[in-house]
């Protein structure tokens, strides 16, 4: 097999793996959008905050250490213990549930029946608040996140592909774990929304608030539930991205990468978020590999947005989104 083709295949597979990471972020958006019609601008910051919290708990960091030290002249930074990864993840998930309750209690509850744009603005405010709050709580230095996921080249794949093609593919173990975890997560979410009473209630709330109330659904409970799930998805995305590139404040910008994924897949479709992420991940890498050298490279920065723009022109509802029909 010609070398060029093999390299292309390797780029495509790596692209798919990167796409899974995009899908993870996009998934958080879709969940909240489907269930409450809110485009949650804060999803990226939620991922950052979840990752910060996880690292903080794991390392036994004292929350608000800077603030406490500045106020009382103390010098505390760490509790001096280390929490095992699994326990830390459970605790961080608990913090995200708490966060969901606070968001419902202090923001959403007061904005019932408001226009989507108002709710969108509220999430922008929330994003900035959380970014500052995360900084204040856990400090702004770049942190290393280690939850025991293996990193580096997967030797089995390297050897197998070397035996077959005479060229070993470089696939990162972390990417493989991410793909598996994402698959499990999506499976559980789909089962939940299709086959449980809360899942059905969630879809009902997304469609009509009044009708949902009239059949006995508590809007507040469903909102807490949805934001908890979105918080959990943010945690998973935060862990994966944090393990890959360290927990730093630029993590919140992954939300921007999720936008083209959503435009491609449709804002209301869970499969859309997955497929959209995969297409963008793979398209990005292949485009860089084939066209990149001709036009001076660095195409990965804009390829996704260009693709999204094309979709906006020709298929505004995305690949899997609901077609917008306005009755006149």
């Amino acid at each position: 097999m010609p070398e060029q083709l093999l390299w292309g295949m390797e780029a495509a597979i790596n692209g798919l793996m990167a796409g899974v990471m995009y899908s993870l972020v996009a998934l958080g958006f879709v969940l909240i959008f489907k269930a409450s019609g809110i485009f949650n601008y804060a999803q990226g910051v939620m991922a950052l905050f979840a990752a910060l919290t996880l690292v903080g708990i794991q390392n036994g960091q004292v929350p608000f250490a800077h603030l406490i030290n500045a106020m009382f002249g103390t010098e505390i930074h760490h509790f001096g213990w280390h929490v095992p990864a699994l326990l830390a993840i459970i605790l961080a998930a608990g913090v995200m549930v708490l966060f969901a309750i606070i968001v419902e209690r202090y923001i959403l509850k007061h904005l019932v029946n408001q226009e989507p744009i108002i709710l969108f603005m509220a999430t922008i405010g929330l994003a900035y608040f959380m970014e500052g709050f995360g900084d204040l709580m856990w400090g702004s230095d770049i942190k290393k996140l280690d939850v025991g996921l293996v990193q580096g080249i997967n030797l089995t794949i390297d050897e197998v592909t070397y035996d077959w093609f005479g060229y070993g593919f470089y696939i990162d173990n972390l990417d493989i774990s991410a793909a598996i975890i994402a698959a499990i997560l999506v499976g559980v979410l789909v089962l939940f929304s299709q086959y449980t009473k809360q899942g059905r209630a969630m879809r009902a709330v997304a469609d009509d608030h009044q009708a949902a109330l009239s059949v006995g659904i508590s809007l507040r409970f469903i909102w807490v539930l949805v934001w908890s799930i979105a918080g959990f998805v943010a945690l998973v995305a935060g862990v994966m991205w944090g393990a890959k590139s360290g927990v730093q404040f630029s993590l919140s910008l992954i939300a921007l990468k999720a936008l083209p994924v959503l435009m491609l897949g449709g804002f209301t479709s869970i499969p859309g978020a997955i497929v959209g992420g995969l297409i963008i991940g793979m398209g990005e890498k292949l485009f860089e590999f084939t066209i990149g050298p001709m036009i001076g490279g660095a195409t990965e920065n804009w390829f996704a947005y260009m693709l999204a723009l094309l979709f906006l022109v020709f298929r505004p509802q995305g690949l899997f989104g609901e077609k917008i029909i306005e009755r006149v």
Partner: protein, 272 residues
């Protein structure tokens, strides 16, 4: 017709029971506007009770008070022999009160079947964890509820649209699905907000028949708001007439028809 605590018998021979719901001196204000002014009436078991009145008379507000969407500033609501405390609308559903809406409020993204299944929520016990762990029990519960839903689907003759997303259905059928969803809750009191608004004659006849059948077959107590006077007089046992937030008449269709105040306010003066 004689009214006492044991009920009465209708002209067509149905026996109406005791009081299910009693509104006592209800007053509802929105800022400076008084939507309902000191209204009292009762709804009896097995009865079809209509609330009529010109536009803006406060009929829908009254339904929303019963339903818990609005909380009256004054007055008492007695339900099944006990005074009802202020409740949230979703808690009211668990009390056995179901309703439909004037402007259809369905879950457009879902199929007819799923829409009606949401009506069963108040009858589903297992929580999230239970559904994950004891899958068997949750499945049994689901299939029992499903059976009830299928009965209602048969009853309202909407078998052919079971799997259709309701957003695609014509208006008349959407109204029927909404009725089915309310029925699925097996309510002790069913509230219908203009069940025939915007329908053609044939659809109105169908809907009237279904309302009468529901009342007859399941013994459901029904309170409804309707504009079409012919329909109201045909199907209801007793009628409350409202005008500008006040009650101006209450009684059987014949009594209401003969009430001069009602004629002036709503029916207009008769021309022969």
């Amino acid at each position: 017709m004689s009214l006492d605590d044991t009920g009465y018998t209708t002209p067509d021979g149905r026996t109406i029971g005791g009081v299910v719901m009693e509104m006592k001196n209800i007053t509802l204000k929105f800022g400076g506007v008084t939507a309902i002014k000191d209204i009292s009436f009762d709804i009896r078991e097995g009865e079809i009770r209509a609330i009529i009145g010109p536009n803006g008379a406060g009929k829908s507000s009254m339904l929303n008070v019963i339903n818990g969407f609005y909380h009256p500033q004054e007055g008492e609501i007695w339900y099944k022999g006990a005074r009802r405390q202020a409740m949230k609308p979703h808690e009211i559903a668990y009390q056995g009160i179901a309703r439909t809406f004037q402007n259809i409020a369905l879950f457009n993204g879902m199929t007819t079947l799923d829409n009606i299944m949401t009506g069963r929520l108040t009858h589903m016990k297992s929580g999230i964890l239970a559904q994950a762990i004891w899958k068997g029990a949750a499945e049994r519960e689901e299939s029992a509820n499903r059976q009830k839903v299928e009965e209602i689907i048969d009853f309202l003759e909407i078998q052919s649209i079971r799997k259709t997303p309701v957003g695609r259905l014509p208006y008349g059928l959407q109204k029927r699905v909404e009725l089915a969803r309310a029925l699925a809750a097996e309510p002790s009191l069913l509230l219908l907000d203009e069940p025939m608004a915007g329908m053609n004659v044939e659809e109105k006849e169908d809907m009237s028949r279904f309302i009468l059948d529901v009342n007859d077959e399941f013994g459901t107590t029904i309170a409804l708001i309707e504009h079409d006077m012919g329909v109201v007089m045909d199907i209801s046992d007793r009628v409350v007439v409202m005008d500008y937030g006040k009650k101006i008449g209450d009684g059987t269709p014949d009594e209401v028809r003969a009430n001069q105040e009602v004629i002036d306010a709503y029916l207009g003066v008769a021309h022969d």
